[in-house]
Amino acid sequence: MRELTYLEAVREAMSQEMRKNDDVFLMGEDIGVYGGGFGVTKGMVEEFGDKRIRNTPISEAAIAGVAVGSALTGMRPIIELQFSDFITIAMDQLVNQAAKIRYMYGGKGKVPLVLRTPSGSGTGAAAQHSQSLEAWVAHIPGLKVVQPSTAYDVKGLLKTAIDDDNPVIFYEHKLLYKQKGEVPEEPYSIPFGKADIKRKGTDVTIVATAMMVHKALEAADQLEKEGIHVEVVDPRTLIPLDEKTIIESVIRTRHLIVVHEAVKRGGIGGEIASMVAESEAFHHLAAPIKRLGGAAVPIPFNEELEKAAVPQVVDIVEAVREVLVGGMVVR
């Protein structure tokens, strides 16, 4: 099948929806001729014109708020924040307006907007341009939260996001933009709340998100050589979360490791681990659940420190060994 990069898949999903539906449009900083901070929208203004590919002032609060207002009155805006760290400036409009309007209005009105934004570290952009803050939005009722890890997933999930009648926070990972994968040309939807088992295995379940899916897969490859069969589950959407697939996997493998790039303390890993611990899977666990996440530090600039700040393949390999040994010994 045809291959596209993750970045191209994002662009294709948006372009296909925009061709079909005049209500869909884009707003963001430098998304016109410049093509956006990471080049995702390159060429789109030429096809769709500057009314539908709207270059905005550097005004993240208004970008979000104007999107909410336009969504509430019949449009389906997609907004791009250049770095996900800038969501800090748009939180009021996302959390106090977008997420709550329908509920506050007693079920009237809807806010079909997609906020797309690149997150994660690894580019040397330092503390204010490298965060993974998805746990914040996952905590807010009324929002949906997506973290695609492959070119195939990103296209299908973005279509679903655009079609969704609710505000969706859609995290793209900077380091994945150039990754290639097979992507069908025709539009397709990947439902929210359906985890994807990226690799089947019998010994341990790793629930990993975004970039960590790939690190987990690498770790699994290495461990396979030692005869350890790792299952890698990619939730793809944090809200809604496919609890069932995760729980069933853990029941099969009896071991769970949760890995994300975001700071471990207060990260979504705590939610996933606790959810499993509260489920019937608890009684099948042969070892304590282990979480891997970012160190409790701002992301440093220096390349080696930057790597040390987030889980790497060796950390995952080590965690698997630890969980399996721990499990065998103590229970």
């Binding site: 609060a61 708020g65 449009m75 209005y105």
Partner: protein, 323 residues
């Protein structure tokens, strides 16, 4: 009386009635809060009736407004039913938000009221978004965005007005300058004489009007909406007015003088309109009293309706989170 848009006598009388509806609605609430029979809090419009009514007088159903925490006036002026509003205040299922929103979230999408807002300045970008929809879909409607003097110090005001200006969006920024935020005099928190002067930072017209003169409000809003509908972009209107009551349910009003309050009470916007209408022969003093009485009865009926309405069942807790 120099009224620029075409408005029938009948309509003028109905605007007069709306002003009474607003005042009586809010005075009723004041009473409920004083007796402790109402949950939550509220922000009363009393004294500011002319801005809401005058601005909405030139709007059609398809035109939109965004409102604020002090939003009952805007709702009524944009055509909301006082019984459903009152029911909302009582947290009843028959209220505009099924009792889930309360005072600060009354919305009436069918009549173009995109909703009150508990976040000061929060509605300003929403209004700009609504105007963007009109422009993109080439729909013939205008959006009037209400906010207070205090809200103009929020970043959301700045960002949203700038965006509306560069895109020539059909929106009217309507600042109800009642001279205070919660307690802070605007003169201490803004270093210019008129909020309308801020228009200059965005290259849009700024207009200063007497917010207690409904006729002037009608005229200014009419010109701004016409301009917006012609595609010439936004206007910032600053209407000087005053809230008679405290900021919210509990306010000792230590930050202003009784004398100042008295001076503003003397500028009662309802009495003022009444005088004009009588002078112009649009109605008689007796008719005015009758209209007021009608408004009074509507509010009484609304209370009746609200009190007799059922509470939302507990399973309403988990509905309406997602569309």
């Amino acid at each position: 009386m120099k009224l620029i848009p075409d408005i029938t006598d009948e309509k003028l009388i109905s605007l007069y009635k709306q002003m009474w509806l607003i005042r009586l609605f809010d005075e009723k609430l004041e009473q409920f809060f004083a007796e402790g029979s109402m949950h939550g809090t509220t922000h009363l419009t009393v004294g500011q009736e002319a801005t809401a009514v005058g601005a909405c007088a030139v709007l059609r159903d398809e035109d939109k407004i965004t409102s604020t925490h002090r939003g009952h006036g805007h709702s009524i002026a944009k055509g909301a039913r006082v019984d459903k509003m009152m029911a909302e205040m009582f947290g009843k299922i028959t209220g505009y938000c099924k009792g889930k929103g309360g005072s600060m979230h009354i919305a009436d999408l069918e009549r173009g009221n995109l909703g009150a807002n508990g976040i000061v300045g929060g509605g300003i970008p929403l209004a700009v978004g609504s105007a963007l929809t009109a422009q993109m879909k080439e729909l013939d409607y205008v959006t009037v965005c209400f906010f207070g003097d205090g809200a103009t110090n929020e970043g959301s005001f700045h960002e949203a007005v700038n965006m509306a200006s560069i895109w020539d969006l059909p929106v009217v920024f309507f600042c109800e300058n009642n001279h205070y935020g919660m307690s802070s005099p605007v003169s201490e928190l803004v270093n210019i004489e008129h909020i309308a002067n801020r228009a200059g930072a965005y290259g849009i017209p700024g207009v200063i009007i007497d917010g207690n003169d409904m006729i002037e409000v009608v005229n200014a809003t009419y010109q701004a909406t016409e301009r917006a509908l012609r595609g010439e972009g936004p206007t910032l209107i600053e209407a000087k007015t005053y809230r008679w009551k405290g900021h919210s349910k509990s306010d000792a009003m230590t930050y202003r003088t009784r004398k100042e309050e008295e001076a503003w009470r003397a500028k009662d916007p309802i009495i003022r309109l009444e005088k004009v209408l009588v002078e112009e022969g649009i109605f008689t003093k007796e008719k005015a009293i009758a209209v007021r009485q009608e408004a009074y009865q509507e509010i009484e009926d609304a209370v009746e309706f609200a009190k007799n309405s059922p509470m939302p069942p507990v399973d309403e807790l988990r509905t309406d989170v997602y569309a």
